[in-house]
Amino acid sequence: MVRAGAVGTHLPASGWDIFGDLRKMNKRQLYYQVLNFAMIVSSALMIWKGLIVLTGSESPIVVVLSGSMEPAFHRGDLLFLTNFREDPIRAGEIVVFKVEGRDIPIVHRVIKVHEKGNGDIKFLTKGDNNEVDDRGLYKEGQNWLEKKDVVGRARGFLPYVGMVTIIMNDYPKFKYALLAVMGAYVLLKRES
């Protein structure tokens, strides 16, 4: 009895069958392939959430997008943030904050702080490389920032590494193509 070869996806010229590994698998192995992929995604997710819990910041790693903090930080630098409630905000420190209504965090230096007796503060920021303070960036009518706007304080940085993120955001198709290829590789190739 001759059985026709199983229907598959062949690249006609090279005879390369990308589903070859999958077709030889039983149910359990197929489930494991999916699980493998899910575990890689879960590991990345758990590391990120773990960092969020550890640092207390909702975005513990950010990329500097503009040159407004030169020569301290350049576009493409990676910053590590923490956001512990006990840390006081003092003039001269670099903070990452979000303006209400915008979701891009800004990395600038605190230049003025007003503090009440109970610990409430309001502060003003300015980029080192900017001519004027950030009042133009704040919400309409807002002249000061408060603790709730702070995403975190810069604790360490890696130069240039963030350029990858900037490139992937500027060319989203590249990002999706890369993710698709990596995902396909994990799903289709059998792990030994």
């Binding site: 070859g20 590994d21 489930y31 997710l45 959430k49």
Partner: protein, 226 residues
């Protein structure tokens, strides 16, 4: 993980060489040709990229499995594999819980739940590593031989193998655990993979199957002497 194994490896599917495989081997006329035909009906002769270490190991493992399951009619036991699948599924479950909870109650209200899920996830990862290293080792088949009289517990056969990266020496170890006496006996062989594959990357069962049978019989006969 998968990304670490052979670079640029591609497994040519068995379906690609359907016509060619059937011809030369059909006419051997030996007593075992019936068995070979049966293998060929289910799967075409396995053809893989001979330079891809993981594909070579996988095909050798799969064929050894087939010999034990089809020739000796043992029944595969999925307990070990199911254990690994359960651990992985539970880990992913923690991750999904963390994801959904954080979405419904944004940080920082979700902090305790997040912390719990993250810690549980990494604990499960640790359990998984211990499980695969110590319990599963490199065992890829656990098969039971049902006792024909139905009185004694099953005998257990385990297959494990190893093939080092960029090496050509393949080691296959067969372990026999008697159901009655709970004694364990092992036999193994280490051979170059070049002995089993031809130049185009097709696994030659004629060369491989006798090795497996020899391992099996060496363990089975000792039992009879007892």
């Amino acid at each position: 993980m998968a990304a670490a194994s052979a670079q640029g490896g591609r497994s040519g599917g068995g379906g690609g060489s359907s016509g060619a495989g059937g011809g030369p081997n059909c006419g051997t006329g030996s007593g075992r040709s019936g068995l070979l035909d049966k293998w060929k009906i289910d799967d075409k002769p396995v053809k893989i990229d001979k330079w891809d270490g993981s594909a070579v190991k996988n095909s050798l493992d799969d064929s050894a499995k087939k010999v034990l399951l089809e020739k000796y009619k043992y029944v595969e036991n999925f307990g070990l594999i199911d254990g690994r699948l359960t651990i992985c599924t539970i880990s992913c479950f923690f991750a999904i819980v963390a994801l959904i909870w954080d979405y419904m109650h944004p940080f920082p209200e979700s902090k305790p739940v997040l912390a719990l899920c993250v810690i549980s996830y990494f604990v499960m990862m640790g359990i998984l590593t211990i499980y695969t290293s110590y319990k599963e080792k490199s065992i890829f088949l656990v098969a039971h031989r049902k006792d024909p009289t139905g009185m004694d517990p099953d005998d257990i056969w385990q297959l494990s193998s190893s093939l080092k990266r960029f090496d050509d020496k393949y080691t296959l170890k067969l372990t026999f655990i008697s159901g009655r006496t709970k004694q364990q006996r092992e036999a193994e062989f280490t051979k170059s993979i070049a002995k089993f594959f031809d130049h185009s990357g097709t696994l030659v069962m004629d060369a491989y199957e006798p090795e497996i049978s020899r391992l099996h019989d060496s363990l089975a006969t000792e039992r009879k002497i007892k």
